[in-house]
Symmetry: C2
Subunit: 111 residues, 2 copies
DNA sequence: TGAATAGTTGCAAACATTATCAAGTCTTGC
DNA sequence: GCAAGACTTGATAATGTTTGCAACTATTCA
């Protein structure tokens, strides 16, 4: 039952392919956060946040621990930070390369 | 104008979230390939390959150039390689951390 | 105990992505 | 010109993902 590595990579990237999940990982790679803290920082419904956290948990990218009334999340693999930085590098590269012409990236919210 | 960076990142990762597209990028990050060469190396229908290439083109991750009878693809941003390597690092981290329990991820193939 | 806060789960509708087949363009070589 | 090879495009059914609401569990605190 072994999955080829390129497929595992695809799964990993798919897991990262959601704005809320990126935000979560960015925040968690700074420091651990309780769910309600994330909720204050990310504009999303509680249940939706919970579901995105579940996705990240399933992929073992984050872990959770109940501490009294709150549940604290942490990134389980520190290298996640590298991945996010690499992504930023690529985006800079692309943007630099094409100036500002028509992008497929749909403009919506701010921040 | 600007799309929030975290959203652009999510788009980027989403683009990478498909096994065929990962394969394509892995192959192209070694050297340029004509479509029919990719076709020989990846088990996929021509029309499907074409569609995946279109996705990568739209995101500006690859560029294509017609050379006589063939169309040659190249990665447009060399840093893509870093991203793929970072992904491999994370997968190793996860796999190492959890041994072989879940069996959702097991490395077999190369790269 | 009961109210309030903190999170999670289930589910159905809305939405996006993928695979496949048929049809079309472009280029080479005869 | 025209057949063959190399690719792309369009349409569509099948599948997968996301969202939002309601309901539910767990913990704290008064």
């Amino acid at each position: 039952m072994s999955v080829p590595l390129y497929q595992a990579k695809a799964e990993l990237f798919k897991t990262l392919g959601h704005p809320a999940r990126i935000r979560i990982l960015e925040l968690l790679s700074e420091r651990d956060h309780a769910v309600h803290e994330l909720l204050d920082l990310i504009d999303i419904e509680p249940s939706s946040l919970s579901q995105q956290l579940a996705v990240l948990r399933r992929t073992s990218l984050v872990t959770s621990a109940r501490v009294g009334g709150e549940v604290i999340y942490s990134v389980s693999v520190p290298e996640v930070r590298d991945l996010l930085l690499a992504a930023r590098g690529i985006l800079s590269g692309i943007i630099a390369a094409q100036g500002e012409l028509g992008s497929e990236l749909s403009p919506t919210a701010t921040s």
